[in-house]
Amino acid sequence: MDPGGGTTGTDPTLLGFVLVLAVLVTLPIAGVAAVAYVRRRNTSYLLVTLALFALVARIGVAAGTVFGIVPDAVHHLAEHGLDVTIAALLVGAVVAARDIDQRPTGEQK
């Protein structure tokens, strides 16, 4: 057992690389989602956008743990709490999408 902390057994350089990669992939798609929400203004878009930003926050917690800002004791709880949040937001987005599809089509507003 390494007393070094939460990154036990993981090469810190590799972990840093993975986190930078995660930010580079996740931030642009969260940005795309935000623009799509501004255009479409419906609940599904809002929930998917929030899920993607929760994913960004999850990467933030991981980075905070590496840099010692987030204490080891809370990082597992925070990350898995965000997992639950992301899953719930996606379920909400799917439910809201069905509500929208139930409206009659072919009619003008």
């Binding site: 798609i29 795309v32 255009r39 998917v48 799917v94 999408a97 599809d101 089509t105 072919g106």
Partner: protein, 169 residues
Amino acid sequence: MTDAPTRDRILDHVQANPGIHFNAIVRRLDIASGQAQYHLRRLAADDDIHPESRHGRTHYFTGEFDTWERHAVAVLRRETARDVASVIVSNEPTTPTAVADELGIARSTLEYHLEHLADADLVRKDHDDAGRVTLTAPHPGDTLRLLDLVTPTLPDRLVDRFERLVDSI
């Protein structure tokens, strides 16, 4: 002609990319947004370019575009709107169901873009007595000409594809 080299670069870029929006000018020419804002204001004051605000975005054009063309190009810079307009021009008269099937897009995606296309007088929606909708293209020749003139930017394409994905959940 204009006095500053940056202003000439902006004018050339707007000429080559009709309907380009502010963020794309800043990104592609790698200039500060304050600087871009200043030069665009001066170019507009001199009547060298015409700003067109549509759906929360300002698109820029040189003088050779009339009001209808400016509105139409602003709409036709969107990838899915282009697809919808092309299908309607090729198949008119057609129906929303046929267009959505041909493109493989959700009905909500189609309705959103039809609204913008109808607004720009690129597509006409007619309702018959039974409530069925017929789609026609009032200006097919001009629509094809304007479609050839512009291509959507990469970020715009990504947003459009994201919308297709979310709408099809």
